[in-house]
């Protein structure tokens, strides 16, 4: 009788303990996540607040964590005094052109691989090796050739280089999207008299457009972020944001300059946008293209 009474009580206690453990687990999870968020977002917090501070707040102790008299004057200064507008436009133009060119050139190649297994294992090995190729190995001969051809300090030279460098990445991602595309729809179009190229442009492209947008955004951000080619090949007129930012480092270890932080904020904006828009594809995009160098 006593044992029979005891049993539900023990069970209830055990249930309570497991519920408690689960709750403690949930709290600990949140503590860990919060700590990670602080660590990974703190630098962004610091550059954003720094870019909004007044000049005397840079030197203040205790430091000004949240500027009360926030203003956009450093952004204005960046755009007017430091030619930020020009370099921001350069980055935009170069990244957009490279993105479009890489997409146009890569699509038929990806189609050829997805539909006809063109190149077989050899081509996919070549693409992998090209993806792993260190940029420093390419920039030395390209610099000498561009010097001879007069392509340094030009949009064309940089756009051509970026386009080709991101072909392996774009082809790889596009092959994935094309393999998911039902071949029957294409065959129906071809029965109706469409050519291969016609069916690719008129039937396949509209349907895989979202996939192409993913590739385009990754190619855009990869070009936007690229530094080694840009620092070697650009001159005073064609500098990109990445090159502009490094010009602020001459201030020694203490770079409190508002314009420097403002340029960093502008430089990381696309990364924020892409991280949220392409969440599902981040693993693939980073593994295949990554932010090199």
């Amino acid at each position: 009788m006593a044992i029979a009474l005891e049993r539900p009580r023990v069970a209830a206690a055990r249930l309570k303990r497991s519920r408690l453990r689960r709750r403690v687990g949930a709290v600990l999870t949140w503590v860990g996540v919060a700590a990670a968020l602080v660590f990974f977002l703190a630098p962004f917090f610091w550059i954003v607040t720094t870019s909004l501070k007044g000049n005397e707040d840079f030197f203040a102790y205790p430091p000004v964590w949240i500027p009360l008299d926030a203003s956009l004057k450093h952004y204005v200064g960046l755009f007017t005094r430091s030619s930020g507008a020009r370099y921001f436009t350069n980055s935009m133009v170069i990244s957009s052109l490279s993105m479009l060119a890489a997409l146009v050139v890569s699509l038929p190649t990806a189609y050829s691989i997805a539909r006809w297994r063109f190149g077989g294992g050899l081509l996919s090995t070549l693409l992998l090796v090209l993806r792993m190729l260190p940029a420093i190995a390419l920039i030395i001969p390209v610099y000498i050739m561009y010097k001879l051809l007069g392509l340094t300090n030009s949009y064309l030279g940089l756009v051509m280089l970026y386009t080709v460098v991101y072909i392996p990445f774009a082809v790889w991602l596009l092959v994935g999207f094309l393999r998911d595309f039902p071949i029957e729809i294409e065959e129906a179009a071809m029965i109706d008299g469409c050519s291969r190229l016609g069916s690719l442009v008129r039937v396949v492209v509209p349907i895989i457009a979202p996939g192409m947008a993913v590739v385009a955004l990754f190619a855009f951000i990869a070009t936007w972020n690229e530094f080694l080619f840009a620092v070697v090949l650009t001159g005073i007129e064609t500098k990109t944001m990445m090159v502009l930012v490094t010009s602020f480092t001459s201030g020694g270890t203490d770079m409190f300059y508002g314009e420097a932080s403002a340029s960093v904020v502008l430089g990381v904006l696309p990364a924020f946008a892409v991280a949220f828009m392409l969440q599902r594809y981040l693993v693939k995009g980073l593994a295949l293209g990554g932010t090199k160098g």
Partner: protein
């Protein structure tokens, strides 16, 4: 793979025609320069001396691999930066992936927020951290003083060891999110039933971690580590902004040393030879990577 049901209409030249634009461009802009670079590496072309050049055979390679203390030192530096970075990125990334896997609410938004550093360019990451590390006006020193942890203005790049530690910290901040995303994807592909049956059999969470999660995540971890390892051999932008190779040449990586030889000393032939030494190393790692992937596919099949 489905094959087209139109064997008669298929034209033999079509696959090649479709692939030719990018193959042509790759040959023109990547393969031809690389071949030229190899030819260059066998000469003594030095832009600082003049346009004349001679064929010198393997002299540049002999110098790079046996005599050039600076380059050999940079190989060592690169390894010293890579090893702790990889360990920290793997452990932290695994921890974060496990944490995110436990989250019941808000996981997508937290994942996106944590992924941002990996999308930022190395140059921007390094700039943001340079402002954090600033001696007098940086966030870290000032926070340390406010909390009473630091009582002096600390220079985070004062000594070679500190400099390397600071570079590793920024690199870990920059690329742990990548590892986290890869491992999270790997975690989510493990069937939940395995954990349930382990629990029914009375396994503790610790036991199921060791005998389910880790073995099934092994290949994912290997692939993530290999990708990071190969990309870390190219470490350049971070160094350029954070330390510019200093103090002394203690944080000069192979890519950075090659850059200095090529675009500061203008010894183009020697820089080409150095870059080919790097390419050789990367090729070996890439073969290892392909071997791991093949092993994974064989295991999956």
């Amino acid at each position: 793979m489905r094959v087209s049901a139109f064997p008669l209409k298929r034209k033999q030249w079509e696959p090649f025609a479709f692939a030719s634009p990018s193959l042509f461009l790759i040959a023109l802009v990547i393969l031809f320069p690389l071949a030229y670079s190899f030819y260059l590496s066998l000469q003594n072309f030095d832009l600082a001396v003049g346009p004349e050049r001679d064929f010198v055979g393997a002299k540049n390679y002999v110098e790079a691999l046996f005599k050039d203390g600076r380059f050999l030192g940079s190989i060592w530096n690169t390894a010293v930066i890579i090893a702790p970075s990889l360990v920290c990125e793997l452990l932290l990334g695994l921890g974060l992936a496990l944490l995110l896997g436990r989250m019941t609410r808000g996981r997508p938004i937290v994942t996106a927020l944590l992924a941002i550093p990996a999308m930022v360019s190395p140059v921007m990451a390094a700039m943001a951290w340079r402002m954090m590390f600033g001696v007098k006006y940086g966030a870290i020193n000032n926070l340390g003083r406010q909390l009473g942890i630091l009582d002096v203005y600390f220079d985070w790049f004062a000594t070679p060891a500190l400099s390397i530690a600071s570079v590793v910290l920024v690199e870990v901040w920059h690329n742990t999110p990548f590892m986290m995303l890869v491992l999270l994807a790997g975690l989510q592909s493990i069937p939940q039933e395995l954990y349930e049956s382990a629990r029914v059999d009375g396994a503790s969470p610790w036991q199921s971690f060791w005998s389910i999660t880790l073995p099934l995540l092994k290949f994912t971890m290997a692939v993530g580590v290999m990708i990071r390892l190969i990309d870390l051999t190219k470490l350049f932008g971070l160094i350029f902004v954070l330390t510019f190779g200093g103090p002394g040449s203690s944080t000069e990586t192979v890519a950075f040393t090659t850059y200095l030889v090529g675009f500061k000393d203008f010894r183009m032939s020697y820089a080409a030879a150095l870059s080919y030494v790097i390419v050789g190393g990367v090729l070996v790692l890439t073969l290892l990577f392909m071997w791991i992937q093949r092993a994974r596919e064989a295991r999956a099949a």
